[in-house]
Symmetry: C2
Subunit: 241 residues, 2 copies
Amino acid sequence: MIYVIGSGPGNKDFMTLEAIEAIKKCDTIVGYKTYINLIKDLIEDKELVENGMRQEKERCEMALKLSSEGKIVGLISGGDSGIYGMAGLVYELNSKLEKKEEIKIVCGVTSSISAASVLGAPIMHDFCQISLSDLMTDWKLIEKRISLAAEADFVIAIYNPRSKGRSEHLKRAFEIMGEYKSPSTPVGIVKNSGRDGQEMYIMEFKDMNFDICDMSTMVIVGNKESYIDDGKIITPRGYNI
Amino acid sequence: MIYVIGSGPGNKDFMTLEAIEAIKKCDTIVGYKTYINLIKDLIEDKELVENGMRQEKERCEMALKLSSEGKIVGLISGGDSGIYGMAGLVYELNSKLEKKEEIKIVCGVTSSISAASVLGAPIMHDFCQISLSDLMTDWKLIEKRISLAAEADFVIAIYNPRSKGRSEHLKRAFEIMGEYKSPSTPVGIVKNSGRDGQEMYIMEFKDMNFDICDMSTMVIVGNKESYIDDGKIITPRGYNI
């Protein structure tokens, strides 16, 4: 039995009761070091299997192996496990096994939702989430999605905006969005959302500061109705007020 | 002081610790009856101000008034308050006041995330959320967004898919998506996600069953890579397995 548990954006305050109860049921916790560290006090009495970044496949295989040995396994995934998380991969690997393991997804708060709550109410209406990581997705497809999302006037939440190896992708994304988003469109940036060292920046599209963004940053770009008021971004739902 | 609290999709199991702690701090709880009922045991000792559907403005004004009188107010919003919820409206109304109230958004699990966890791992990659309610949004804009989102091959989560007054909107949305989504694209439907009476259906795009959808239903349409396996929808993230 594997619980695939979204641990939320930061420490245990952002986890659901269901997620905390699921952890209590587990014998063994499998996860990426950074996320495990954030919820350390919940898992003190558990067997721990931690590993590093980009070892997602090994992590899922380990969870499946431990489950096949009769362990109740908690596979920890930052944010929500179903959004750029571990849920898909563990199902994919399980589907190839002769003897399948039981899997239960325990949902969590994803980073865009957490960042939005820090910025005010920037989402509020139709929106989309796009990851700029081209490790596993063709960059041309990412560009196409950015362009069509901007044309559709979605609020756009950008995951994995900028890493050392991809320092120019975010700038390119803004060039593409700039064909549809006006220079005064509000942009919100949240670094380390829900964690120690949380930082928040609000600016207009034309003043976008790319240099403050890294892999622990969420960037949210408003729609045509969004505005900045009193240090917050507000996207109206459409109420007549 | 107003805490705008996302109460998650169902009962308190899907609330975050932060949301539960925020409720404890409140003197008065303001909210829509249905959501208040779902978390009754958390608010037994609080002053309650409940009202009905479509009275969102009155609810926010009441929260602001009570806060101006010195009360600590918990404004309850189903799911996450920042996604089609109360967060934007209370900020909008507050910005018009001479003496502004302090507002803190307490995030929650939105319905698409909860429904996805029931369906397997249908989201997993770039996705968008679109509400089919045209009460406050021009239907032409909604159609445009559906078309561009399908062209971009986003996973698409449809909020408010069908009400008595809008029985044909969902069918029209599928006609539009059908220009880009193949007939075998997986579609997941979750009714009453996270609540008593939860129902889950998985089918191919060409077999879509519109009649089972209502306002308490979430519809999730996969992307080109999504597939159905062992009664779950899986959208691969792109790992080489």
